[in-house]
């Protein structure tokens, strides 16, 4: 049961009890300049299909690649135009609004240095900031905070990072202390997990298969986005559909924002959302992925609202371990790939643009003739944010935060 304090450390006990740390320190970053910036990192675990989220509708090879599963400007519902070349998944009207007001940017064909296709290793590279997996147990965001502390950028009495979720994301783990908060809602198992379990039951236990199938059907009936008020969702009563996912995302992100917004609260935080491993029936236009992106879009709205005045000094970076195959696979989904997108939102952003060195979609232009080819190193984006928003020293970024990344120059001009 989701119900155990397994490690006798203070952090784990608090995480297990669902309590939020009380803290008294004031981790002001860049306070000498009169700024008080906030950075929230959201990790989409399972590998987001960047092409299903932000489609290159201007690419002549796009529709041929995805067929009737391609997002298009005259689709049902129509994709939301971003510029002459890219369009956004229609599940994300909030992101579209932020983009049009210059408070969101999208980086496309982006990837970490990791080039294999294991989720765990991919997430390890993404969050550790190393160029290979299994090197360290600390995350780049935590090390960035440490660097600020030693450089006098934060209040010397101590800094804190915020971790949301029952397991603290690796990206904020490390020597700088982490406070954790666990959403009270029970996140339902992902559709992928349910499908796999159904498959297992079909081979081993027909009765349980029947029950699980009925439940999945029920969930899909109640699952259309926009039906019902996600905030009134009672985890003990509601069917396990997308409404619960929406409520969970909104609660988790909204709570993170509330704490980051506090005058004496933490200034950096991280959280993870699972469920992006869309191998079967991906549904970018009107299914699984559409629903998940809608839930993420709702989380963006919750962050903007709950940040209040602090929104103008906020940057949220939404990243994933890698992308997915450019083509649809044999089960109407996509398999593990490489290049994908990163979303950047926040009042502190100089946005309103898609940043991409577009590699093209012809077979020869794909990475290993299957994935969107990465042309931008995600570390350049993150280093740009850390340097220009949090004011982390560029040399420290290359040595300690993203070791071995001296030749990956921070991307300038991301924050206003």
């Amino acid at each position: 049961m989701g119900v155990v304090n397994h490690l006798p450390t203070r952090r784990e006990l608090l995480a297990g009890s669902g309590a939020l740390f009380a803290w008294s320190q004031m981790p002001r970053i860049a306070r000498a300049e009169g700024r008080d910036p906030r950075l929230l990192v959201i990790v989409l675990r399972g590998a987001l299909d960047g092409l299903g989220a932000v489609a290159p509708v201007g690419d002549p090879d796009w529709v041929a690649l995805r067929g009737d599963r391609a997002l298009v400007l005259d689709g049902k519902p129509p994709a939301l135009p971003l510029d002459a070349f890219f369009a956004l998944n229609p599940a994300m009207p909030n992101l579209h609004r932020l983009y049009r007001s210059g408070k969101a940017a999208i980086v496309h064909a982006v990837a970490t240095p990791y080039r294999e296709r294991s989720h765990f290793d991919g997430q390890d590279v993404l969050e550790s900031g190393m160029s290979k997996p299994g090197v360290t147990a600390s995350g780049w965001l935590n090390r960035a905070l440490l660097a600020l502390e030693s450089g006098g950028g934060v209040d010397p009495r101590g800094s804190r990072a915020l971790g949301i979720g029952s397991v603290t994301p690796l990206v904020v783990r490390g020597s700088a202390p982490v406070m954790t908060w666990v959403p009270q809602r029970l996140l339902p198992a992902s559709e992928d997990t349910q499908s796999r379990l159904l498959d297992l039951y079909q081979h081993t236990d027909p009765k349980l298969a029947t029950v699980l199938q009925a439940r999945m059907k029920l969930a899909s009936l109640g699952g259309a986005p926009g039906t019902g008020d996600p905030m009134s969702d009672d985890p003990t009563l509601a069917p396990p559909g997308i409404a619960r996912v929406r409520a969970y995302f909104a609660e988790a992100a909204g709570t993170a924002a509330r704490y980051l917004a506090k005058p004496d609260g933490p200034r950096v935080g991280a959280m993870g959302f699972v469920g992006w491993d869309t191998h079967i029936a991906e549904g970018a236009v009107s299914g699984q992925l559409y629903n998940l992106l809608g839930a993420l879009d709702g989380a963006f709205a919750a962050i903007e609202t709950n940040m209040g005045e602090a929104w103008k000094e906020t940057v949220v970076a939404v990243v994933t371990e890698f992308g997915r195959t450019a083509r649809i696979n044999g089960t109407q989904g996509t398999d593990h790939g490489t290049g994908t997108v990163a979303f950047l939102i926040g009042g502190g952003l100089a946005g309103g643009r898609v940043i991409a060195d577009w590699p093209g979609l012809k077979p020869a232009q794909l990475f290993e003739d299957r994935d969107l080819k990465p042309t931008t190193d995600l570390r350049a984006v993150l280093k740009g944010l850390l340097r220009d928003h949090l004011r982390v020293d560029e040399k420290v970024l290359a040595d300690a935060v993203f070791p071995g990344s001296a030749d990956v120059k921070p991307m300038g001009g991301l924050v206003g």
Partner: protein
């Protein structure tokens, strides 16, 4: 250890124990049946129970807090009213507008009620922390047990003789320790006398208010009988429904039970909340129950009826069938039930020997592992497999509630059901709980290690495959916990 012995050990742990935990299969050795029987010879106490209040003490603590809440609330309300009158008087002097006065009066009345509520809430209910501490000790005993057969028997009898914490939270855990656990491996008649004479049961089944129509209190207060406890003892606890007792038997037995009550907590700071027989409530004279005349004039009358109910052949059959249904199959083999009922009759209800008769029967080892575990069994089995031995009782009891089997809170005196149809629709919720638990423990538990070390690879090959192909360790754990190997026994 041979493969078949390993398979039998796994079956023993699932069917009769709390599920495999690290090292348990090896501990069962080559003789799982013998190991089950040997476990029944060990003491069945709760190691830290000395730190817990007795049921009477817990009851007094809650009653005392309630009394203080009431007093505080009254005081606060009076104070607020006084202020309100004072301000109304000054408003009169100032000749305020009548409308404004009326409005002000309403607000102040609300304020008085609010003040009362706030004052009461300032004294927290001590019943919940006691409940949680009891839940923690009970659950951790199940997690720590090598096999858990004896703990399963405690759980079985606790459910058979259930009360509800919704009605009497303070005593719910202590009731199980004092009345059930202490007699789980003893004789049925002692168990029966202990539970029916326990204040928690008398409270739960409304016997405190029951009085003989011709008793002193009954005449003085013009009140009478409550049949609840008499009916449930015969229908649920002993004979079983439709076994020949009549409405007249129920009424007579209810008369017999009048006077079985508890010491009022306010009246006696030493013994408040303990059992007492109050002759002023007791219906005078003899009673006839199931054709037998009981002429005793006091508590012995009820004890005599309970002893006869315990020895009744219908009770042996009822109890044997229910035990077999719980442990072995929704439709247990009639041969097994008869073997167990015979042991019950031949040994005057020696519950340890009945349990030994069950695990010694070849029938129970032949039945395929088809029985769907109840949520409580499944949940504890999942946690055991990880090697975790300590729980946070707030989260754990919350999980049990989510799964539809909140601890010590069945919705009716019948207790939680034991058939697949009652529980199978909750399997989806189990998935959410498994998924959530997997997320919490993902960093410290390896699903392959559970399969190989805890289960000695005695898991369906399809499950191994699904676990091996999972997209994440969390998913692998969730699939493993949800597999039939974890759900059925």
């Amino acid at each position: 250890m041979s493969n078949s012995a390993t398979a039998e050990a796994v079956l023993a742990l699932h069917r009769f124990g709390m599920g495999p935990r690290p090292g348990s299969i090896a501990a069962l050795g080559s003789d799982p049946r013998g190991a089950l029987i040997a476990e029944l010879d060990r003491p069945l106490g709760l190691s830290a129970a000395a730190s817990l209040p007795t049921s009477a003490k817990a009851y007094r603590t809650v009653a005392d807090a309630n009394a203080r809440r009431t007093a505080r609330a009254k005081q606060a309300q009076q104070q607020a009213k006084k202020q309100q009158m004072a301000s109304a008087a000054s408003a009169d002097q100032a000749q305020a507008q009548p409308d404004g006065q009326a409005q002000g009066y309403g607000q102040e009345k609300d304020a008085a009620e609010m003040a009362a509520k706030q004052a009461a809430d300032a004294i927290p209910d001590p019943g919940r922390p006691i409940y949680l501490q009891e839940a923690k000790l009970r659950t951790e005993a199940a997690l720590a047990a090598e096999i858990g057969f004896a703990e399963r028997l405690v759980w079985f009898w606790s459910n058979h003789f259930c009360i509800s914490a919704n009605k009497i939270q303070s005593m719910s855990g202590a009731y199980e320790r004092e009345a059930v656990r202490a007699n789980t491996l003893g004789r049925f008649v002692d168990l029966l006398l202990a539970v029916e004479g326990h204040p928690a049961m008398l409270f739960y089944l409304d016997n405190l208010e029951s009085m003989g129509a011709n008793s002193i209190a009954g005449i003085n207060r013009n009140r009478g009988l409550n049949e609840n406890i008499a009916r449930e003892i015969m229908e649920l606890h002993t004979l079983g429904v439709r076994t020949g007792y009549t409405q007249d038997d129920v009424i007579s037995f209810a008369n017999v039970m009048t006077g079985w009550t508890l010491v009022p907590p306010g009246a006696d700071p030493q013994h408040g909340g303990e059992f007492t027989f109050n002759p002023r409530l007791h219906e005078p004279g003899g009673q006839t129950v199931l054709g037998k005349r009981y002429e005793q004039e006091d508590v012995e009358q009820g004890r005599a009826v309970l002893r006869d109910l315990a020895a009744h052949p219908a009770t042996a059959t009822h109890v044997a069938a229910k035990l077999a249904r719980h442990f072995v199959a929704d439709e247990p083999p009639p041969v097994l039930v008869e073997q167990m009922a015979k042991t019950f009759r031949d040994t005057e209800g020696d519950l340890k020997l009945v349990a030994i008769a069950m695990v010694s029967s070849d029938e129970v080892w032949r039945a395929a592992p088809a029985k769907l575990k109840r949520p409580s069994e499944w949940g504890v089995g999942m946690v055991r497999a990880t090697g975790i031995t300590q729980i946070d009782p707030v989260l754990y009891t919350g999980g049990q509630q989510l799964l539809g089997e909140p601890l010590w809170r069945p919705s009716a005196p019948k207790g939680y059901p034991d058939d697949e149809a009652s529980w199978i629709d909750g399997v989806g919720r189990r998935l959410d709980v498994a998924n959530n638990f997997a997320e919490r423990i993902v960093g410290m538990v390896d699903p392959q290690a559970i399969i190989e070390d805890v289960f000695a690879s005695q898991i369906a090959s399809e499950v191994k495959q699904a676990v091996g192909r999972a997209e994440s360790r969390q998913q692998a754990l969730a699939l493993l916990f949800m597999s039939s190997d974890f759900q059925r026994r």
